[in-house]
């Protein structure tokens, strides 16, 4: 998955604002545990992906994340002994002993799994819709070399993937028995090291070693657009709503000894507010090319 500029409000906003937006959604997923609130965050993520025109990429990430979420739920249901409502008695297991699956542990596992899925989707949304070069510019004021290394790592992913495909094709062209995995691993590692040396030499001659912290006002001042402001506001609003909702008790959830997830007006309002806050920046589609 790589960043590609698209005609969307999210792509039109500056990286600082969209970084804050993705971080806000991730904070909401971490802070909230009420199923309704988490469902609102999940819906917000899907809506944001559609609004940013990156739904195919996010769907691919979701296909990878959902089994992981299910695994978290299953493991939690088997390992955690909390809860009073037994829904399955699985008998005596080696190491685990008597395994009783409770409704409470299963739901708690589902909440954990959903949270993990949402965090992965936040990362996927960031990768697909936030310009890494702009992020580099944003962070170079603090730590240029670290930021460039991170950008380089992102850039190298497709290059190394192509290298791997080339290596696989070359091995398919070798007659006779295929080489051992160890030999292949050694060859691949040598190739990656060669590639790293070449990139290091290229960076050296571009002045990487002599790069200095930029002077104040080094970057061309870009006026704040409506999209910058909308995504920055959402980036602040989403975590404020999530933390506030939790503090005032609108997102209460407990699973021990029994399930307790009241769906009151407060909870419904919080979910609606989260959704609105996350999706409103996408409503304005002027100047997105």
């Amino acid at each position: 998955m790589i960043y590609r500029r698209r005609a969307s409000p999210m792509h039109a906003a500056r990286a600082g604002a969209t970084c804050a937006y993705c971080a806000g959604l991730a904070i909401a997923a971490l802070v909230l545990s009420a199923p309704l609130a988490l469902a609102a965050v999940a819906l917000a993520l899907v809506g944001a992906a559609v609004g940013a025109g990156v739904w195919p990429q996010i769907r691919r990430a979701a296909l990878f994340a959902l089994p992981l979420g299910l695994l978290v739920m299953v493991v939690n249901a088997i390992v955690v002994r909390d809860g009073l409502t037994v829904i399955a008695r699985l008998g005596n297991w080696p190491v685990f002993g008597q395994v009783d699956v409770t409704l409470e542990a299963t739901v708690a596992g589902a909440v954990l799994g959903l949270r993990a899925v949402e965090l992965i989707l936040c990362g996927a949304l960031y990768t697909a819709a936030v310009d890494p070069d702009e992020v580099l510019r944003l962070f170079r004021r603090f730590s240029f070399h670290s930021a460039l290394t991170a950008t380089l790592a992102t850039r190298m992913v497709p290059v190394l993937a192509r290298d791997a495909r080339r290596l696989a094709d070359a091995q398919r062209c070798r007659p006779g028995r295929p080489p051992s995995r160890a030999a292949l691993m050694r060859a691949a590692t040598s190739g990656v090291l060669d590639r790293a040396l070449d990139v290091a030499a290229a960076l050296e001659v571009r002045g990487y070693a002599a790069a200095q912290r930029p002077r104040r006002g080094w970057e061309r001042q870009r006026p704040y657009s409506r999209h910058d402001l909308a995504f920055a506001a959402a980036g602040v609003g989403i975590p404020v709503l999530a933390i506030g909702g939790r503090l005032v008790g609108w997102a209460r959830f407990s699973s021990d000894p029994a399930l307790h997830a009241p769906v009151g007006v407060g909870g419904a309002l919080l979910a609606a507010a989260l959704l609105a806050c996350a999706l409103l920046p996408f409503a304005d589609r002027k100047g997105i090319e």
Partner: protein, 542 residues
């Protein structure tokens, strides 16, 4: 005032038995375009790496003498300090482009120097205009073609307005059109900005006509330093493998060698030796061309592609109803610009890709050597990579090679080792050797001697040979037939003398100098043609 001054520079890489450069003294002034010529391992790349400070700061090793670049001594200033004065372009654009978008890539060198925002923006716009890549500025670097990437990498080298640009075989991955464009562009940049350019190249016929000076390297030493004409004079006698085909043609006719097609033609015309363009093919005994896509009888073909289509899912059509058949023992060159479908066709032939329509048939195993020979090398010793018989076939049977690490071999040797691997029979049994041998751009980065050796090797094979290449001189040396591809379909299929002689980009230098007369491609044939027409002319006159 000199931009680059090397004084008695001697340098050895860490652990190397012999120095890569030995007592090299060179001075290069502003605006000069200097071509570095020499066989692989002669020290060209090392000299460029001295100029940009990678030697000794990045590579280590032992360095003696002095190198002054734009007034900075490289013993005291590393590549970071020199980056503002020296722009560098390496062979492989893939590893030089480090940012996500073209605009960010062009901005990086200026940002590294903490240039203010307006200066960065202006620098990016100006270099994009100069190189004609303005339309690429917002594109992702991961989606650019090889030629586009090389231009972007050149832009990143130029954006800081360096006083010196060093380029290491920048055209080796480009098709002839893109390669010529790059050289022309360099010439213009040198003239417009007074930038000194040092260019290491193997395809001398492409760049010598534009050069102010040529330096011949041999064994790490400067063997010749003069104008292109003086260099060709020296090369014709002392290093024939470095002389251009045009120089060989003129020398063969007793004329002083000159660089370039126009100068070569002028020299022939002045001597009254330029043959009539209309010398017919029947005079040279060359048979007529077959039409494109004409199919031969299938019963004697070792490889047959029958109306093969390859259409990418939700993407472009790469091959369009390609019908090609190659007989056992036949040597066919596949030519065409980048993206014409050459590599895809070879991959279909070898079964790495399946056609979306059509059929591929072969009488036996199809060996395919892809563009990067290093991908084939997986063992620690040469002797483990292929059977002794296969190694001997490619000239690596010597005991000195047996215990060497494959990755320590030179580029040409790696190419031959990879060829031995794919030629090897199943389980090392050469009786089960390949019926068809396909090679994808096998001469990239190879010097002329290695190319001649490879051509000779291909001529000795019993198998059907299909080679995708941009190199018309190599085609003239090995091919019996040329297929020219364009947009995924063959547009010409015939003898090399028919397909290559009349063209501009897909023609040898000899053919271009002689204006395609007689369909000759190689210097020796050109000498015979001109001498023959002289004899017949004198007979008629008598």
């Amino acid at each position: 005032m000199t931009v680059l001054s090397l004084e008695h520079v001697t340098y050895s890489y860490p652990g190397a038995a012999a120095p890569a450069l030995e007592d090299v003294s060179v001075e290069i002034g502003p605006g000069e375009l200097v071509v570095l010529a020499g066989a692989s391992g002669s020290g060209k790349s090392t000299l460029l790496r001295v100029a940009n400070g990678l030697v000794p700061h990045f590579h280590g090793g032992e360095f003696a003498g002095r190198a002054i670049v734009a007034g900075m001594d490289t013993r005291e200033h590393g590549p970071g300090d020199l980056a503002g004065a020296v722009g560098t372009l390496f062979q492989d654009p893939e590893t030089q482009v480090v940012m996500g978008t073209v605009r960010a890539e062009l901005a990086l060198p200026l940002e590294n120097r903490s240039e203010p925002g307006p200066a960065v923006a202006r620098g990016v716009e100006e270099v994009a205009l100069a190189l004609g890549i303005g339309h690429l500025l917002e594109r992702l670097t991961s989606e650019l073609s090889g030629g586009e990437l090389q231009r972007v990498a050149l832009g990143a080298a130029l954006v800081g307005q360096p006083r010196l640009i060093v380029l290491d075989e920048p055209t080796s991955q480009l098709d002839p059109v893109a390669g010529d464009e790059l050289i022309t562009l360099l010439r213009r940049l040198g003239e417009d900005f007074d930038t000194a350019i040092v260019l290491a190249e193997h395809r001398l016929e492409r760049c010598l006509p534009f050069a102010d000076r040529a330096i011949g390297m041999r064994g790490g030493r400067v063997a010749c330093d003069g104008t292109p004409g003086e260099f060709l004079d020296w090369a014709s006698v002392a290093a024939p493998e470095l002389a251009t085909p045009g120089a060989h043609l003129l020398s063969g006719l007793g004329l002083a060698p000159v660089a370039g097609v126009k100068a070569g033609r002028s020299a022939l015309r002045a001597a009254g030796l330029l043959p009539d363009r209309a010398v017919s093919r029947s005079d040279t005994g060359a048979p007529e061309t077959r039409g494109p896509g004409r199919r031969r009888r299938a019963d004697d073909s070792a490889l047959e592609l029958d109306r093969v289509w390859y259409e990418v899912d939700r993407g472009p059509t790469i091959l369009r109803s390609v019908s090609v058949s190659v007989r056992a023992g036949e040597r066919v060159a596949l030519m065409g610009r980048n993206g014409a479908g050459k590599s895809t066709l070879l991959r279909h032939a070898a079964g790495l890709m399946r056609p979306t329509r059509g059929k591929v048939r072969s009488t036996g195993r199809v060996a395919l050597l892809l563009q990067n020979p290093t991908d084939y090398l997986i063992h620690d010793r040469v002797e483990l990579e292929a059977s002794p018989a296969a190694l001997a076939t490619v000239g690596l049977g010597d005991a000195a090679y047996a215990r060497r690490h494959p990755r320590d071999l030179s580029g040409g040797e790696k190419q031959r080792l990879a060829l031995a691997i794919v030629l090897d029979g199943v389980g090392g049994d050469l009786n089960q050797k390949a019926a068809v041998v396909c090679l994808d751009e096998p001469t990239r980065g190879m010097d002329r001697r290695r190319k001649d050796e490879l051509a000779a090797l291909l001529c000795e094979l019993d198998a059907a040979v299909l080679v995708a290449t941009h190199d018309p001189e190599f085609v003239a040396a090995f091919a019996q037939r040329v297929i020219l591809l364009a947009d995924g379909a063959p547009i010409a299929d015939g003898l090399p003398s028919e397909v290559l002689a009349g063209g501009t980009y897909f023609a040898t230098e000899t053919a271009r100098i002689l204006g395609g007369a007689g369909g000759v491609l190689r210097p020796q044939d050109g000498v015979a043609l001109v001498s023959g027409s002289l004899v017949s002319g004198s007979e008629v006159g008598a």
